[in-house]
Symmetry: C2
Subunit: 349 residues, 2 copies
């Protein structure tokens, strides 16, 4: 039995309470300042407002003011904030976390820098820890896992990454179940880059669904040739980006590809892509989704911006990224969808 | 304008008549002895009985007895037989084909040998040509392309492979359209191995759909975590098999992964996997599909058989292929579905 404090009561952080608690651990779910009503609901009903299933009995629910209590004797901490909470976690939470207690994060994303680098969130947080002179092992979770399917006990395979394999093994011992299967790797940049990149590309694949609805009618059957063509190009471009990240590794690429596979079928990124494919402008598509976080748009824009800087310096060739750059011009410049299919072909002798 | 003779009036061969004829080529569609009624229907209605759209005007339809006429002045020949027609094509057709006129094949599959090798169909046919002393450039088509979506003009990306890049360029010039996009490569073994392997693995992914129907009810929503987990493992195992084939190359792997993506969503392989996942035995599943060709079952069994021989010789480690070997024990030995999820995890320091 370990004591696990989850910070962030969004869907993904909350979903991880299921395997954690089902394994008999002491589990404490702490809401961010934005999660106040969620925590109240959990206390009243024993169920997250977005799930269709009760939490396992015995989880403690905490408002952010009760963080100190929730952190007492924690063996490790799960950071479940969305990518829009990354700065908050760095500035408000890292300073009050106990020394040496590992943090494992499910937040997916990359941050670009003015000189064209793409930093992982563990990179960003490590800089803050260094500044504070604190020692906290930072780990992360990547891989194809939607929260509601984890809650439903669908068979799920993810990777935990971090610099210290022993820490990872201890966290895996607490979290692994007969439906939650965990690989371990010390390649943090690789895992985090792969699973962040897929968000931008999932949008590109979803475009094809909307394009087909426009071409063949809203009730037409799904077509998969064009989805697969965009999927294959996405994997090709993701590999080149992983090389730029210094993290080319087959397992990272497969992790990103698997995550891409899930993301195309789930939720908001799919919906935006379909709306754009049907012919809506990016502003119209955003309006349809008012109030919903669109991490995919943020990631695609950041990666494209970094790539353009790298290209100016001769460190990347923009011709290698026709799909990503098209996604960027749709979402950043408001251009219409016109996928450059022929640019995806090649000759190889 | 080129003259193109398609031999085999199944769905894939017939679908290729669309881009071929729309580009203004002289196109001749020749049925195998099994396609007699199809050719009659095409002549009477101008439509393939399995398509929901007429052929472009001007295609010539030929019964097998008229093959000689259909081959006159052909610039290249498309072989559209199914994998069950490979021997027929080798024994009956190769001997009567004209010298030096290229053949490009859409037939996907691999043939195992008693010493554990996996031969491509171009390999098999080349042996026959050598025996006959004939010189015919053998090319092939691989990649994610379902016939009815090609007919519908869904955007499609494939690879043509063959030893002579100039021959490939000429065929591409005849076939490429604004919806049919073609990469060219001289790596025949790589392309043919990748697109054959995916057939076996598609079954493995489809199993998860049936398993979820059993666990959550027939009307439950699709779950993608387990699909993605099986997809990722499939890609990992496909890569190891491509290494064994001496054809590890990133583009081959992406081609196979894209093809896998399509196959999971289309047709018979998906259906068998779902039935098995629901709990039917392989014999019951086959009965449900009476009369339908199951290339996926054939490929998975052949690859597993070759792998076991390679393992006996110390040339492969069966531990690297938990998904493929489980598929094989289901379809060959009639074992129940019990996906070894934890065997898909790893530690990487």
């Amino acid at each position: 039995m370990q004591t696990i404090t989850i910070i962030g009561a969004g869907m993904m952080g909350s979903a991880l309470a299921f395997p954690a608690r089902e394994n008999g651990n002491d589990v404490r779910l702490v809401g961010t300042p934005l999660d106040r009503e969620i925590i109240e609901t959990c206390r009243e009903t024993g169920r997250h407002p977005k799930f269709n299933k009760d939490f396992p009995a015995g989880i403690g629910y905490y408002q952010i003011e009760e963080l100190e209590t929730a952190l007492r004797c924690a063996d490790f901490i799960i950071c479940g904030v969305s990518s829009f909470g990354v700065d908050w976690f760095r500035d408000e939470i890292l300073p009050v976390l106990p020394e040496k207690v590992p943090v494992i994060s499910v937040t997916k994303g990359l941050m670009d820098t003015p000189d064209g680098r793409l930093l992982t969130y563990p990179d960003l947080w490590q800089a803050k820890l260094d500044e504070l002179g604190k020692h906290i092992p930072l780990c992360a979770i990547g891989g194809p896992c939607t929260s509601y399917e984890l809650v439903a006990h669908d068979q799920t395979e993810v990777s935990f990454c971090g610099k210290d394999m022993d820490v990872l093994r201890r966290i895996k011992a607490a979290m692994a179940t007969d439906y939650y299967h965990i690989s371990l790797t010390t390649d943090v940049v690789g895992v985090e880059s792969a699973v962040a990149l897929k968000n931008g590309f999932a949008l590109g694949i979803a475009l094809t669904i909307g394009l087909n609805q426009k071409a063949f009618g809203m009730d037409s059957e799904l077509h998969y040739n064009s989805q697969a063509a965009a999927f294959a190009e996405a994997v090709r471009e993701m590999r080149k980006l992983l090389i730029l990240q210094g993290a080319e590794d087959f397992n990272n690429l497969v992790l990103g590809a698997g995550d891409l596979y899930v993301t195309v079928y789930g939720g908001r990124t799919r919906l935006v892509g379909i709306l754009l494919g049907r012919g809506l402008t990016i502003d119209e598509a955003k309006q349809e989704l008012a109030g919903v976080t669109l991490e995919s748009l943020v990631v695609a824009g950041r990666v494209a911006r970094a790539l353009r800087i790298k290209a100016q310096r001769g460190e990347a060739d923009l011709k290698d990224y026709p799909l990503l750059l098209h996604i960027d011009e749709i979402i950043t410049d408001g251009k219409p969808v016109n996928i450059p299919w022929e640019a995806f072909t090649f000759e190889q002798a």
